[in-house]
């Protein structure tokens, strides 16, 4: 999994406005007005299904209607990797699924229909734009110990990128 910050709001521009209007800078005042656009690559569709439950976020994701799926592009969870019998079952299932997908496409089934059998493990790419308030809620919820391992990794990475870009907004995570 890889995440990259494509742009973010210039916090100084917002602070200048507050200063001109005599309003004190507080993270809570500007959190609706500071946005981040991220590229996320090579995480599973299992994880992006969790990600898109977060609201007030704009997503554009690689479409399976148009791009062909390949066997190489899957995420294997650590619990599967470290379990010989489990990994064999996983690998056999993927071989069967991708074998069927390739046969369907070769037989003329449109990719938008052949994709119905693709696994949740398939890697995907997307861009996502959201404000600091939505991102903080996502980070608070998805870095929790109860969260699933892959989205925890993703949320921790997004948190780090946002914190580097706008440290003044990330001195503490406000729980909501």
């Amino acid at each position: 999994m890889r995440a990259k910050l494509l742009y973010h709001t210039d916090l100084d521009a917002i602070k200048r406005v507050l200063s001109q209007k005599g309003v004190a800078f507080e993270p809570d005042v500007v959190m609706d007005h500071v946005v981040y656009m991220f590229e996320i690559e090579d995480c599973s569709r299992v994880t992006t299904h969790q990600l898109v439950r977060h609201r007030a976020v704009s997503y554009d994701q690689e479409s399976q209607r148009f791009s062909a799926a390949t066997r190489e592009g899957v995420v294997t969870p650590p619990s599967v990797q470290s379990n010989d019998a489990g990994y064999r079952a996983y690998d056999e299932a993927l071989k069967a699924v991708y074998g069927a997908y390739e046969k369907m496409v070769a037989a003329g089934i449109p990719k938008e229909d052949a994709r119905y059998i693709l696994p949740g493990a398939i890697k995907t790419k997307l861009v996502m734009t959201l404000n600091a308030r939505s991102l903080m809620h996502l980070v608070w919820q998805r870095t929790a110990l109860q969260a699933q391992w892959e989205i925890r990794e993703l949320a921790a990475t997004l948190h780090l990128l946002a914190q580097e870009a706008t440290p003044e907004l990330w001195t503490k995570i406000i729980e909501r």
Binding site: L6, T9, D10, V127
Partner: protein
């Protein structure tokens, strides 16, 4: 009503094009950005025109504007944020606001009689600052000389 631009997404038309290409490309983001730089503004214009024509307005959401809005009473801002729930408004003074919206919401304001005059004021400010000449021309028919 007075509208002043505080900040906007860098390279708005290219950013929208990145979001469009993300849907159809399997390539890493750096390759998409290189491709868009090589093909240049005419290609961004082609993609943006296609998004507007197909009403695939989701890609416009990655172009974000933050504005200072002055001389708007709380009742009027309340009406706007009720009718257009994706507007984010923070009161800075009795009639002054910090307002953030994306380009999709701007298009929706423009097309709706309840938001048209507000949208026109925003578009005039964007034109004056030369922020998004291609977008302004395609979405609103406003000819702008890029700064």
């Amino acid at each position: 009503m007075k509208v002043l631009l505080a900040w906007s997404s860098p390279h708005p038309e290219r950013t929208i094009a990145v979001a469009m290409r993300r849907c159809y490309s399997t390539k890493p983001i750096e390759d998409i950005e290189t491709e868009l730089e090589q093909k240049g503004p005419e290609y961004w214009k082609y993609l943006l025109g296609k998004a507007l024509q197909d009403k695939s307005l989701d890609v416009l959401e990655h172009f974000v504007l933050t504005l200072v809005v002055e001389e708007v009473a709380p009742a009027e801002m309340g009406r706007l944020t009720r009718n257009f729930p994706y507007l984010r408004a923070t009161q800075l003074g009795s009639n002054d606001w910090l307002l953030t919206l994306n380009a999709r919401t701007l298009v929706e304001l423009w097309k709706d009689p309840r938001g048209k005059s507000f949208a026109e004021t925003i578009v005039a400010e964007l034109s004056q600052k030369g922020v998004c000449p291609i977008f302004s021309e395609l979405a609103f028919g406003v000819k702008v000389n890029a700064s």
